[in-house]
Every structure is written in C-alpha cells, then in structure tokens.
Subunit: 284 residues, 4 copies
Amino acid sequence: MTTPDTPPAANPAANPAASDWWRSAIIEMRPGMIRFRGYAIEELIGRVSFAQMVWLMTRGELPSEAQARLLEAALVAAVDHGPQAPSIAIARMAATCGVGLNNAMASALNVLGDVHGGAGEQAVAMYGAIAARIDGGMPQAAAVAGGLDEAIERYGKFVPGFGHRFHPVDPRAPRLLALVDEAARDGVVSGRFAAMVRALEDELAARKKGRRIPLNIDGATAVIHAELGFPAPLARGLFCLSRSVGILAHAWEQTQQGGRNKGPLPRDLLWTYDGPAARPVPGA
Amino acid sequence: MTTPDTPPAANPAANPAASDWWRSAIIEMRPGMIRFRGYAIEELIGRVSFAQMVWLMTRGELPSEAQARLLEAALVAAVDHGPQAPSIAIARMAATCGVGLNNAMASALNVLGDVHGGAGEQAVAMYGAIAARIDGGMPQAAAVAGGLDEAIERYGKFVPGFGHRFHPVDPRAPRLLALVDEAARDGVVSGRFAAMVRALEDELAARKKGRRIPLNIDGATAVIHAELGFPAPLARGLFCLSRSVGILAHAWEQTQQGGRNKGPLPRDLLWTYDGPAARPVPGA
Amino acid sequence: MTTPDTPPAANPAANPAASDWWRSAIIEMRPGMIRFRGYAIEELIGRVSFAQMVWLMTRGELPSEAQARLLEAALVAAVDHGPQAPSIAIARMAATCGVGLNNAMASALNVLGDVHGGAGEQAVAMYGAIAARIDGGMPQAAAVAGGLDEAIERYGKFVPGFGHRFHPVDPRAPRLLALVDEAARDGVVSGRFAAMVRALEDELAARKKGRRIPLNIDGATAVIHAELGFPAPLARGLFCLSRSVGILAHAWEQTQQGGRNKGPLPRDLLWTYDGPAARPVPGA
Amino acid sequence: MTTPDTPPAANPAANPAASDWWRSAIIEMRPGMIRFRGYAIEELIGRVSFAQMVWLMTRGELPSEAQARLLEAALVAAVDHGPQAPSIAIARMAATCGVGLNNAMASALNVLGDVHGGAGEQAVAMYGAIAARIDGGMPQAAAVAGGLDEAIERYGKFVPGFGHRFHPVDPRAPRLLALVDEAARDGVVSGRFAAMVRALEDELAARKKGRRIPLNIDGATAVIHAELGFPAPLARGLFCLSRSVGILAHAWEQTQQGGRNKGPLPRDLLWTYDGPAARPVPGA
C-alpha cells in the first residue's frame, strides 16, 4: 500500500498498537478508496436506497428491497410530532439562539431518552422477551400476559408501545401494521410480532374492562424493527434517525421565521414562583 | 373540534396568545390526525421514500421520484468517513461512557460545524454566488474566477468542495457527478452546477500550474443540493442527516465491542506536556 | 405590578394556565428585580462565593462558609484528568471543528454518563444505602459488607469510588479525606462517611488478600457530597460543574494551538479494519 | 518513570509520534501524580478557590485573591434568568425526557450561542477594539463613538452589552460595576473599561435623544472579563460555567417536580398551523 502513488498516509506498520486501538468492520479506507462492509461507495451510490444504507451500516449486510421498504416506512412514520414535543420545541428554541443547524439538531436529538424516544426500544425488548418465552414452549396467551406484567412492573402504567396522551387512536399505527401484514403475506417477515401486538392490545383491553389502549407509533415501529431483527437499543437509534428529519425541518423553519432567544411561552408570561419570600442576604 | 368524541385537548380558543407563540406550516395535528404539509401521515407511510419525506418536511412539497433519487444519492454518499473523523471518533468514545445511543449521536452530530460539516454549505453558497453573477450577465469564466477569489479570501487555502487531505481523488465525487449528468440529460435538473464545478476544477488547476485539486464529497453533494434548489444552510442539515447514519453505526458497533471510558489513544500513551515545571502552591 | 412604570410584561392574570405551566422556587423575576430563593441578586453578588451560589441554587438555602469551602474543595479537585479522558478528548476535537466554545463544552459534558461521570453519583448512593442500614440498627461492619456486596452485584468488578486504572493511589483522595476530617473535628460535618469509606477500603482489601484498592476521586468527592447532604443524582451534576472547567480549558487551549478536524490519532494512522473483504454491489 | 513501582503506563518512548499528537500545558500526569500548570492537585485542593482554579486552568497562572473575587462576582451574577430563557427551558424539558442530568445540562449549554450567550464575548471584543483605538492615540470620545458605530453595523440594533427586553435596568449591572470601581480604587484593575462603558451609555443615550439604554448583565460581566484580561471567546466560556449552575438547578428541580415529556406550553395548547390545507397523496 505504501507505494510511490499513494500519499504518505495509512501506514499501520509504523504504529501497530495505535492502529489497533480503533477497530471497525464498517468502513475500510485507503487513499482513493472507501468501502462499506466490503462494498465500494461509488457502487453503492445511486444503487441502494437510504434505508438499505442504514441497514448495511448498522447490520452489516444489504437487505432485500422489500425489507428495506418496510424499514423505510418506519423511518418515514416517526419524523415529527409537532412543536409540543420536547425534541421539536428544543430544536426551534435553539434555532433562535445563534447556533448552527447542526447544534440545534444535536440539542434536540439528545433528549430522545428513555421517556421521549426510548419507548420504541422498550417495546422491542418487551416483544423479544415474549417471543423468547413462546420459543421456549409457553403458550402465546401466557407469554403475552407475562410480558405485560413485566412491563407494567418495570415501566409503571405507561406500557411502552400502547396508548397516547393526545391521540385516541394513533393514525400512524394501523397503517404500519397493515404494511407488516402485507410483508408477512409476501414472506418478507414472519408476522409473529404483528400477531403479538394484537394479542397485547386484547390483553390490555381485557384488563381495562374493554377500554382499548391502542398501539401507538412506538409500538408500531417496534413491530417493524422486531420483525426485521433489529436489536432493541438499535431501534432507538433508528427512531433518532427518523426524528432527526422533523428536528431539522422545524429548526430550519424557525430560522426562516426569525425570533431571538425564543422561550417556551409568549413574552408576556413568566412562570409561577413558589419559593421563599424576599429576604436579605446576611451582611448585605 | 371540541366534540364529545375528542379528548380535552387542542382548544386554541382557550389561550389565543399562547397558541400563537409557536407557528408552523409543517405539521397539523388533531386527536387522531397528523398531516404533514397537508398530507395525512397514514397516506405518506409506505408510499413516499425517506428522501421524499426529507424534501417534503424541509421544502414543503413532494419532489418527483427522480429528484428524490438524486437527493438520496447525496444522503447515501456522505454517511461516514471512519473513526479518524472527529464526529465518528466522538460517537465511538461517547458510546463507552455509559450514555444512550441518542446521546452519543448528539455529541457527535454537534461538531459538524463550519470546519467539519460546513464545507457543503459553504460550497452551495459559493456556487450560488457564481450563478447569481452569471444570471446577471457575467461570462461563466469570469464568474467562476471571481467566485474562487471570493472563496479563497473568505476561507483561506481550503476552498470548500475541493481537495482532500486523505484522498488524491475522492471516490465519491465522480459517481455523484455522473448521476447529476444523467439527471440533467433526463431534464430532472439543469446541470448548470455540474458544469460549474468542472469549470472550477479547471480554474483551480490553472492556478496551481496544472495540479488538479479535484472535487470532494462536500463539493459533489453541494452540486446535487444546488441543482435541487436547497438553500446553503439547509445543505448542512442534509449532511447532518447523512452523517448521522455513520455516527449511529459506529456508536452501535462500539457498544458491541465493549470498552469503558475509551480515550483517543491506546492506554499506554499519554500526551506531551509542555507546561510549567513543578512548583509549590503558595502557602502549601 | 402592572403599573405605569413597568414595561408590558409579567402579567400572569392574562394567561393563568400558561403562567402555571412552569413553576420554580429558584428564581423570582419582575422588571428590574431578580431574586434567587428570596435573595436579591445584587445583594448576593460580591458577598457569596461561587460554591455558596451553587448550594443556594440547587439546595435552596445558603450554606455556612465552612460548608461551602468543603464543597469548593470537591469542585476544585475534579476539574480535569487530561486529554485521554473521553470528555476532554471530545472537547479538544470539537474545538477543531469550527463550533463555538459552548458547543465544544456541550459535546464533552454530554458524555459524563454512568461510566465516565456517574461513579460519584453511584458512590453517594452506595454510602447512603449503607448509612440507612446502620441507622436501622445494623452494625457498621455488616452494613459495609452488605453495601459492598450490593455494589459488586450491580456494577461488577468496578466498585464505584475505589480503584483507578491509572493511579495506584489517586493523589486527590487523601487530601479530600483530610479536609473532611478537619471539617468533622470542627463540627461542620459528622464525619460518618469518612469513617465509612475507610471501613470500605479495609473490607475491600480483606476480600483481595490485603491488596488495597484505594479511594479514588469519585469516592472522595462522594464523601464530601454525602457529608454535606447532596442527593446522589445531584452529585453527578456537581461533578459536571467541576469537570466543565477542564473541558473549557482544554477546548480553549486547542483553539489556540490550531488544528482542523483533529481526529483521535495522528494523521498517518487509521484503524484496524476487520470487516468483509471487497465485494461487488449486486447490479453494479 | 518506567520503574518497578509504576504500573505499565505512560511510556512515551513506545510511541513517540502518537504521544505527540495531543499536547497540553494544562495538566501533567504520572501514576500517582497530577499537576495543573505545575501545581500538584493535592496542594491546590482546599487552598485555592473555584474562581482561582478557573483562572489557573484557562490562563495558566494563579490570580491574586482580589482578582479571583472579581471573577467570582461575574460567575455568580450570570447563573440564571429563569425558565423563559431558552437555555433554562431546554434544561427543564430535557429533564422530563428520561436522560441524565449531564445530558439535560449539555442540551442547554449547547444553545449559549451568538445570540443567547455570545453577547458577553461580543461586548469584550467591542471594548477591546475601543481600547486599541485609544491606545493608538484616538481620544476616548471618538474611539467610543467609532466602536459603537462598528457594533451597530455588525450586530444591528442590539448593541451587545446594553439594553434588556425585560429589565428597564438590569439589577445585576450596577452592583458589578460598583465592584469594579472598588477593585480599581484598590489597584486590582485599571478601571478603564468601567469608564468606557459609562461613556458608551452616555453616547448611546445621546443618540437616542436622552433615552438611556443601560448596561446589562452581559455588558457588566464583560467589563470584569476585560479588566481581568480574559480574551473575548474565553469570556463566552466563563458565561457558560456560570449559566451551568442555573441550568443544573432547574434541571434538578424539574426532576423533583416530575412530569413526562413536558413541552413548552400547557397540554391543552398546540401551535398555530399555517401550512397547506388537507390534500391527498398522489396514488393513495
């Protein structure tokens, strides 16, 4: 590799230990060459979709087009939920503070934690635990009930993937489930997790005297992620990629609208103060 | 909207001023309804690609499939440049510090600033300035030379979009330019910016006594962004969406490899200290 | 308050619900007036130390000067551990990417998570659990042993607060413990946690056949935080305030040294690639 | 250094090039030894104040106690401005999203950009430019007028350091200026910048027909930073250290209050939608 044609770079022999400190199976590079998981980037460009690229980079292999389309549906579905979502509000406020779009995006992305963006990951984990029980021989009904018990114990009344404080029925969930059903009919996925969430919805309703707590966006994208074999933590990363689109769009829109140091409420409002009454500093 | 069927939500009449504080043309929401730029989310899911969704959310309209494929090529091309890129290194180190994937992604995304991720934005701006001159009547050669002068004055020797400290020829650029040529032949784009960067390369080479400083990934994706009409700052946001894929992949891989509090260099190395010699604290 | 002299602001009567959405006991504000926990800011400035201010803002009351000095010692002790610490490395790399100092600081601060900055919080929690047992009647030796068992089960072999992969003896710990001893002698704190960590060190050594695993910076600052009554999660916040100083100093120094897009290793190094061999993209 | 007593670490001879990649005058480390700018950490702990430590780490030398107290006043003054400041709002919202305190702090700190936290840096730069003119022989009045002209041209109507959209008189500024006056009387600082801002206030008032636009927190802390010789960008870093205290306090308070995914406005509010009317997706 160190030939007269190559620039003075990339000579692992010079520092064996240091060249071994970072190790990756994702990208190989030489001057003039970039390969992702073995595929030359110039061959991937214009031939694979963004969703196929996401899969290749995170999982190591190229998915079929049908698998990629299902992942893509999940990526499209979760892009935004409006300026009352903390991530979106943060993106918009940050955009008025004189930082770059990348910074506004970062501040927002950063809060997709256990409560704001983690429900998808938690749902995938819950589905996986139920599936493991079924694979171990437990009947589906018992496995579903047990999984629900575990989730309620762990997360409280907000079972990840179900219910929504704003939408009686989350408009994104039925459509995503229908796409999974199609993919299952085509043999692209097994459909086991689509069946599972329907059983979970029934079980939840039974426990709430018939009041249905329908699948929400996190539960629905989690079905797709589970059907496609994405590990639970990686599902959170995929949600982040998706939500980044809305984060970018809102940050960009806010820069176009203007505003400086925009706080959460209109300027004529403050907050409720419930601290100590005025008192003097000792010695002042 | 406040009917017996809807939950107690979304009543702008209650707080007119506060409901007007945040304003968006991106998303409309009612309980059970989410529309993006007028399109119901359940109709978009499974019908539009991720790239079409990115375009719709940031620009306001759905692009044609051909336009979206060109954008998608740019999104695929820039996903990663390996663990020696600061953004990727940061993602990997963060992943060993006991934070969530969303946090590792955010710390990394945050540094795609003027020097690390801003070259695409700067290139789009440069192309736009040259185009404005040409549209105002200046011959292309003069407009190109003038744009180059301006860029060198503003950015120094690193003209955004050209040259690469690692790749003699950036393997991503010719492929992207070829896709633009195809799209121009099909009438999807004008091709004016592809022509412009070829002229810029020639002009740069002429100034360096024939030594070519070829188009790099930032300059090539900038051609696509400019051809498709994306404003310069938004181009940086698109680069962020793309690079987020590599950031996620590397953060995820690092969590699988393990490691705790992984620093930039192997453990047996420190840094060069060039500060004051040992001295006592007064009074110690 | 809405008098002719005040600008049109701060009129909670206009939007009662919205003014009640954010509630704080920390700060009260009117045009021309800012009070923190009841104290006018202009009386605090120049009369209270930074450490007293940190305490007032987070705990609600002004500490004595002696209490504040002990907190200050902990804040001084943890400011930095050099460019091989991920937080510091990230700050330095970020500073070469064309972002503001605030952004470099944020990317770095963000990774003070469970593994990189959480040990202090975990140690405070461990001390608190042991103290609760002792207060419930358990003899110290049993409580200490039980607390250690719990910690080992929860965190593995890295008991928070003890041992250091670089320092045989962390030079910061004995000095901090000595200050706690002084403060205990002066009646400023009880000294119960200083006694506790000595017992923990003895117990750890007994389990490792006499090989001492000494208190480290996290364990030592945790003693101070526990003695002063700071809850465990807040202890992580205090560590963040402290480490922010080193983060700022290193980011600033790096901007003065220069560098562009500085990666973790010298330029002539890459990483070890252990992924698939070169393969063609289907259809390319 | 590689003696039988030291662990296998810190052997620069093994990798000279890699050990030279990161260079710092801030911290020197060997197993068992940590020195900051030459001072052993165990000697600094309990002997220097937090403000002295901030100075030492960023500037390289220990300041006098009087210098440190003036810096400390500035650090105390800027800690917080309530939940309507974007940085504080972001900290509070983030704290309801299931991320760590360090993450909530980072998202907030990140937005102290040119508009939200940069005014202090801009004011220091403005003062420095005026001082340079005076040192070059220009009379103060002309230098002040010229500096004001430059600032108005660069920043628009918001001259950094003057005026406040909420406070007719910022309660923090007169007190800080009084402390500078004291310090000047004691010979700790020259007082030239205190005189300068009074001249700037007079000049601004003259231009606004006698309507005073008083010094604000950014302008006042900038006087202190300039008097003490801190470069302008570092002044932004100091503001970040200060504001981090309020950021931490509010994030912590919010975790104690509870709340999940708290958006900027009360739940019964949305935002104003001003985008396209409902329309069908082609092909749906």
